[in-house]
Symmetry: D2
Subunit: 339 residues, 4 copies
């Protein structure tokens, strides 16, 4: 951490600042200049908060040099982490995983039909929302436990591990028992209480990036889960909020090389929520694979026009199968397999 | 709701769409053009989801004409709602309320000292965080129950109603018993499960705007709380995330006339989190009062440099008193009183 | 400027970097840590480009401590600059200036009628676009020279100095002769060639903030004009682009205390373009005055519904007069006069 | 275009609005509802400005159904446009083009050396800035005419067509004579005077997307050039400005399928400016090719650490050659050739 102080900061104040950091076990070096002074802190600065240091009115700027995360940090864990989701392995040099399924579980028939379809199309996992985060209290809120059990039935029929969104801590026992991969949605990325709780689960976590969260904040949310004991975190980019109205969100694919550089965890891409439009899902899936993603999560519905939610961004199973085939050739081109 | 379909949409499809909406009890009018068709829906469209309609590949654009919220809507509730927080009334033509206090409760002494100071400076309520949403799992997470009880003690000493952030549903009994105004933080604005739960509380709710949430989404979150039975919602703008690095967030004061036009609920402003810098708090407080805010929530600390969190944006009590005095003259200039 | 290098940077490379900066006349101090090294540069670093330094693969982070601007910098010019626009003085402790007028000059009659109206309402200057930046090539592009001459006529009739947007360098002679205050529009804020050219003019410049430009970039654009010889720059905030659709742009009033802290130049606010909606202009004007703005520029039209551009955000003269009266009381409340 | 009016709009006003549009040659259909009225306009609405219609205080919402652009519109020009840049063809089913070169021309030796290197690496065109848009007036501003002539020399030696940024209309004769592809930079995307002028040139235009411009505004800027007579426009995405600090900009690859759907013009991607970091250029290049880009423009420098600008995002020629080879396999995977 590097701290600069303003011109004219009294010597006494400089000494007080130095002593303060030394008490925290940090080594402090001072550079005195004509216009400003600079302190360099050496040691474990993860507990020092940038904004707290900036509270001192003599402090001008505070810059963090070493990353504020440890468990997720590639520096301290060189090898890629491979996460096992009920037998399907994600990350490292494992094949690229495809997760398909509807936005919402609408009933046993629907989810079992779609599960068969996505399996036949080439997917390795089934997604489906039983608890739905909806902007409006008047919109369909999900089938709840019934939806979870429909997913369990679909897994039984197809053998596909299941992914579903966990929206509150009180459902953790239900999810721990029934669901294979717990999705933490974009709107809960900084629901820190929930992160701490899922950190105690034994099942892996799919951590979606928040609407307007920086990559560093995203990694810090993974760090919350890991700090609580659960190292099986998979990142999922689903687009960020910008000024552009043609797409629902702006898909930020540069996170793929960045997450792989800074952390050792897998990352998958959700082109459906990112674009909000089924017409752009193929192009963004191919791009994600080319950029090095470890997997894709794509919305699939047998009757998108009558889907209970997010039909506009869902692919029909035939189209989904085509997208997977095209991804397979791109994956080969970048030296990666697909299941 | 207005829906346009693409050139060449088959007549049969148009008829199917019309029948579909008529089944939902809506009246449909069709305008046929050479290049496109337009449907106008008349009736209660709050249950129709824009994105679901857009799933039909023949649909080009969907525009909502009437607002998707009802309980918060000024159209159906002309009079201003005044919220009573343990005797302090906010909204309508009531005096402007000032809430002061530290970011975090750091102990009984600290909060009682600051409570006396903010009361003497002219504040009507005390803020203080006992459960803290922190980006890092290694940062101070708040004193928890102990912090809440310290707040209760400070209220006993000063008579000031207390405001504190509620981060998870399991603490609702503790907050219902002890806290006067429940703050839902920016990161939880779309934690829909939590919104539903606080909607069942008897105490009023302070609903902060999310980092990157639109005004409509914000009103919809209030609608969640109101739909669950709690009409005592106060909006709080605390800045949105933009590309500008000089401020922590960008304070959007235009929400004041907009919230007052579209809803009947009170709105207060948090210049401390918005700017992230004590030097800009006064100017933004005066601006908020001039623009018609019903209140201010300002971070105050007796020793900002050693605050356990957010010291950089905290005012000392003397400065806080000056800001209130200046606000008083601006309030008078716009025909509003302060307590 | 502070530069940190990665763990394992060879000594030889560190020495090469130090020599490189010393050749530029800078004094370099090195802090060696176990995990990284930090260089502090002391001296005139305005010519050192952050991104160029970052090109070295051993470099991890580069932080600028001293601001990259000199002429606009309050540090080197403590007193407020007051800009004289053909007799109307803006900035410092001068009265708050109000500029009113239509988005576009639509003809001699229109502009003269509006000029009389804004003068009677209490404005000190007349705005009117003769060259219009329009998103569509098919939209009205302005009356050009005819519009400028209509403005000149309106000035003759009312005595109000005139403000108009200069869109290209070839019109500089026309503007130098006829216009009192040259507006550089948001879309041209980083049209560096134009900035250099207007820097050679003798008339003052009104520099609007770009749609998505940081405050630092904005000050650097003022620095371009000043470096070319023209110190009479007035900043104008007109809202930035965000994700919020209820307003045309998001008005960032925190720029007022920031610009006054970092520079010595005046700043005025444009609530009309910022909100894009006449209903929110009054609230934002009052807020701007309360926050310390040196002036307001407001769109006024006698017949907004038939305005050739931007009618939705224009006030009628009666309303404009009311807004000025209300601003006057707020100005008095913050210890400032209005003309 | 669809216009809705507020509850209670007088019949007389509705009639006035209808007459107004009928005078513009548009056919108007009115849907009367209990809560609102809706007008559907049929005909050529490209000249109707949304904001002007919204100026009527009875108007609630205005939605554009047909796109505001014609010449760039795929609807009226189904076939892909292929742009010929001095013999290199871009767009449609032509091979993917790679443009390489330094950010700035630094002298004859430098540009000729790099030109040979990028040619050997497999590029078809040479980029190099002679006039540089720099945030600071104190930064290197480009070699100007000398730089252009150095580029001409490099073309002579290698046969590669040259691309360079045109920053002002006064240099058009110089560029028309010497440069093969005129780059309009992000900061000038809405410099409408310059767009009109380059619309009269006979050489093709590379139109970069503005920092914070929507796709529709970008297409409208192409429409400006085309309306002035120049149909040879190539779009170039270079990242948009968001809240994320890890990358210089956020690369929006979803523009590739969108631009191809809505227009008939080619689109290329600039991963160098988008990410601002050489380490992420390869991944984003591969993603762009997979998503269907017609070309790439990549910064290449033989000595990035000593580049006069933007070294941090430049590839060395060896790395550039590797990226092209990898792109070639991805291109083949998506059924596209590279030169």
């Amino acid at each position: 951490m590097i701290i600069s102080t303003k011109k004219g900061t009294p010597l006494q104040e400089l000494e007080r600042i130095i002593k303060n950091f030394e008490c925290m076990g940090l080594q402090v070096t001072l550079i005195r200049g004509t216009d400003y002074n600079v302190f360099g802190l050496v040691g474990d600065t993860t507990k020092v908060n940038v904004k707290d240091v900036a509270a001192n009115p003599w402090v001008d700027q505070v810059t963090r040099v070493s990353a504020p995360y440890k468990r997720a940090n590639r520096l301290f864990h060189e090898a890629d982490t491979v996460v096992d989701v009920n037998g399907v392995r994600i990350g490292g040099t494992e094949p690229i995983v495809v997760i398909g399924g509807p936005c919402s579980v609408e009933g046993d028939d629907q989810i079992c039909t779609i599960a068969e379809a996505v399996k036949n199309a080439g997917a390795q996992m089934l997604r489906g929302g039983a608890y739905k985060p909806r902007t409006s209290p008047y919109a369909f809120q999900g089938l709840g436990t019934e939806g979870v059990m429909d997913m369990v039935h679909a897994r039984k029929m197809t053998g596909l591990p299941i992914v579903s969104e966990l929206m509150s801590a009180d459902k953790i026992p239900e999810f721990e028992e029934n669901v294979d991969l717990m999705q933490i949605g974009a709107r809960n990325m900084q629901n820190f209480q929930l992160l701490k709780e899922v950190g105690k689960m034994s099942k892996p976590i799919l951590l979606k990036r928040g609407l307007a969260n920086t990559i560093e904040e995203w990694i810090m949310s993974a760090e919350y889960i890991m700090a609580a004991g659960n190292d099986n975190v998979i990142f999922c980019e689903r687009g960020i909020r910008t000024f552009e109205p043609y797409t629902r969100n702006t898909l930020d694919l540069s996170v793929i090389p960045i997450i792989k550089e800074k952390t050792h965890l897998p990352i998958i891409i959700d082109p459906s929520h990112a674009t909000g439009n089924y017409r752009y899902v193929e192009a963004m899936s191919l791009a994600a694979v080319a950029a090095g993603a470890d997997g894709l999560i794509i919305e699939v519905h047998t009757d998108p026009e009558h889907a209970w939610s997010d039909g506009a961004q869902s692919l029909r199973p035939e189209k989904f199968a085509q997208v997977i085939e095209k991804c397979r050739t791109v994956a080969a081109a970048v030296g990666r397999e697909m299941y």
